[in-house]
């Protein structure tokens, strides 16, 4: 589903975010942006995205796509299967860009506008081939937030919407097809409403920008990260459901609705109030710092929801499953005459403790993940586990040899020490990518039936693969540090 070549027209925060997501998914991207500092601005977004992707998932990342800046729209769109427009929000400018795109693009290319408010019917009005045009409205940071609103115009083909859905879902996003055109679509409509109200609150001196933000993030903002407006209110209605909620709270809600419906005037005094309150609130962090704090929080929230199999966590899990699958496909090409690479990642910030280094439990998490990766190479993958079979660890020995800190790159190599019958005996070495040995992990696992929770024989193909690797690893030197008890003299 993922295109091999894409073009992005416009390299601002949104355009650059698109490029970052595309190259992370192996797509070759040509970018057009006439600004003299376009290259630097793109690189700044890519640096944030690289930092975020390094933490986003435990799965090995795929190979990155190449990107290049082009001098013209012609050059950028040539041969692209997906063309994303992210230029300023002026109808005439966008129409002019589409005419240049159509002059050079393949007829089958999908053309998507990132507009946050203009109607696709208006945007596509002058196009020669408007059927392949749609709005794909993403949210900042585009390289992390899953939502993309897809909106077709009167002339958009439903095939184009379906193709876009598949492409964006394949890149870890949650495409939401908005079936009726409306200014600002859905998400921005909701945000605008809140923004309008927030401006009144500042304008009338009810609360400062910081107080308003705190009213969001310590309260309903936590709810909205996982359930939306209606599901949250449904709970408020109790077992009697949504109708009961509307009956009960409808009249009370109607009461504040009747006030403050006018638009606050964004005059110099209000701008000054907001700007100075915002400085007082957030001025202690640079924008770059705020971006990284935001990204770390978004990753942590999505990972938390993944553990709970909910909402944006499910989107991340689906993306991760795809990465695991492509990793598994690659394992056919693994050289088993040497210890095999079973983990490659960086140390995320929440893995550290009060000693300011990776917490001891995370070493076992690394070794456990390395064991899982090795098991997948042996055919003990999700399909096999679904048949009711698995390996359980029964004994573990770890030597913590050196410290490692946040964002450092780490690698695990795994050697099979013994295999046969129900047993699998593994020895992992965890290295800093610079080469320093950080820890060793020695593990005895037994094959079990997940139904009886007792030991059992592995399936023939698993036993055969283990025997094949055992024959090769038997020729490797016995690792230093194996067979130790805690505190034993060397």
């Amino acid at each position: 589903m993922t295109p091999s070549k894409a073009a992005v027209i416009g390299g601002g925060v949104i355009g650059a975010g698109w490029v970052a997501r595309l190259i992370e998914n192996g797509v070759e991207v040509a970018v057009f942006d006439p600004a003299p500092d376009a290259h630097d601005k793109l690189e700044a977004v890519f640096a944030n995205a690289e930092r975020a992707y390094a933490k986003l998932t435990m799965a090995a990342r795929g190979g990155k796509g190449e990107w290049r800046l082009c001098g013209t729209i012609d050059e950028a769109v040539a041969g692209a299967q997906l063309i994303i427009e992210a230029v300023p929000e002026r109808l005439e400018l966008k129409r002019k860009v589409y005419s240049e795109i159509e002059a050079a693009a393949d007829e089958g290319a999908l053309i998507a506008s990132s507009t946050s408010g203009l109607l696709p019917t208006d945007l596509q009005a002058e196009m020669a081939h408007p059927a392949r045009f749609l709005v794909a409205h993403p949210f900042n940071p585009v390289y992390l937030l899953p939502l993309v609103e897809l909106v077709g115009g009167e002339k958009t083909a439903s095939e184009a919407i379906e193709r876009a859905k598949a492409i964006f879902a394949g890149m870890g996003m949650h495409p939401l097809h908005i079936k009726k055109e409306i200014d600002a679509f859905v998400a921005d409509r909701l945000m605008e409403a809140m923004w309008r109200e927030a401006l009144w609150l500042v304008n009338d001196g009810i609360a400062s920008t910081e107080e308003i933000d705190d009213a969001v993030r310590y309260g309903f903002g936590l709810r909205y990260a996982q359930m939306g407006i209606f599901e949250t209110f449904r709970i408020a209605g109790g077992e009697a459901g949504m109708r009961h909620f509307l009956d009960q709270f409808g009249p009370a809600l109607a009461w504040p609705w009747t006030k403050l419906m006018d638009v606050p005037d964004l005059n110099e005094a209000l701008v000054e109030t907001i700007a100075s309150q915002s400085d007082a609130q957030s001025g202690g962090h640079s924008i770059r710092e705020l971006e990284r704090i935001r990204d770390d929080n978004l990753i942590a929230i999505m990972q938390a929801l993944k553990a709970n199999e909910w909402g944006a966590g499910n989107t991340l899990a689906a993306y991760e499953a795809k990465l695991f699958d492509s990793g598994a496909a690659k394992s056919d090409a693994v050289d088993f005459s040497q210890p095999v690479t079973t983990l490659e990642r960086t140390v995320p910030p929440d893995w550290t403790d009060y000693n300011n280094h990776m917490n001891e439990a995370r070493y076992l998490q690394c070794f456990g993940d390395a064991t899982d990766a090795f098991m997948r190479m042996m055919g003990v993958d999700a399909d096999y586990i679904a048949t009711g079979n698995s390996f359980f660890t029964v004994e573990t020995h770890i030597r913590h040899l050196d410290e490692v800190r946040v964002n450092e790159p780490i690698v695990a190599l795994t050697q099979l020490i013994d295999a046969g019958g129900k047993k699998m005996h593994l020895f992992h070495k965890l290295f800093h990518r610079d080469g320093g040995l950080l820890a060793t992990g020695e593990h005895l696992l037994l094959h079990v039936s997940l139904e009886t929770r007792s030991t059992s024989e592995p399936a023939a193909h698993v036993a055969a693969k283990l025997a094949e690797v055992m024959a090769l690893h038997a020729k490797l030197p016995v690792p230093e540090g194996i067979g130790r008890a805690v505190g034993q003299k060397r």
Copy 2:
């Protein structure tokens, strides 16, 4: 700061949530609610709260306060230092309740209304002692969400606001003082604005309730769990800041503002549309299930933000620190003639893996936490670590003897095997609370200087405490399974 006795008038979802948070914090609570099913409804909320608190923090929970239902307001408020009113949103009803409260309450008692919209000046107008009255507006689920809006009326004493701040902060909340009275305060104003817009979107057939909810929770809802409206937009403005954002986006934002300012009529047709769409969206889960999904997600999000030292995570961390402190205070009374209890918790849902049991890495997390708890008993606490000293684990051996599943209660007992000079050799046993041995952990730690990252001698008071416990634990039997290498025959 935490009161010893409180009264809650009204046992609905909000009142019951208050009671749950109060008893969790050791407060004795008297409840008045005339409904015949009040007891059952309260118990249902307590069951959710108990389940949530069991997962909320790694710290040992304090002793629970008692609660009881009273037949009259008189009886409920007698002797209470804090009186929370959570009756339906009718001004006359609330005023009548306050007059009954004042007839029986201590003059020094704080009286707080949970109203989500009525003005404190109106509420307190007929009170004999209005200075101790304020609005304390919490958010559902009250036992989990940190935000509580504090709003004083014209006659409210600033001392009452300060007292309320200290009480609610002490119970793990984030009190936000709204300095100017306004209908619906701040958070509900913002939510109302979104709700109004969401009703229009359903009314006009733009999107279903599920599509609207997805537009929230896959996109900006993830942002609002950690930063609010202004800080998020500040980032959008780039290094040029908020003023630039307002200059750049002000005009574009003004455009949709000019539309759809009317109030949608919540007529039978719209109610029916919303109710049936909501059934289609969420009807697969009962309200009880949705509540628990929501609670698990809120806990996971707050824990994730705690790891990032941000927002609601900081509120949780402060609460946890208080629990750790009271745990440490109790350690003076520990009986060191036996292995000591160093961990008591339940297995949270995100600790399980594809084998549907606690993941192997979490065993080491339990042992690591048990080691930390033991170290605190030896004087290696946050203050000691702040002096640049700590212990690092250098070697670990784990026997995984039995499985354990989500929500099961687990306990660790710790025996000191060897201590002296820089060394500390520990043996932990992890039990199911029912008594079954789940795992053993054997650990060698060395005392280090956090400055040089090299081994060093512990401070005299730590060495002395270790020696004292060593003398006692030397008399205990040598634990079975100590000194093993992986795969060694018994």
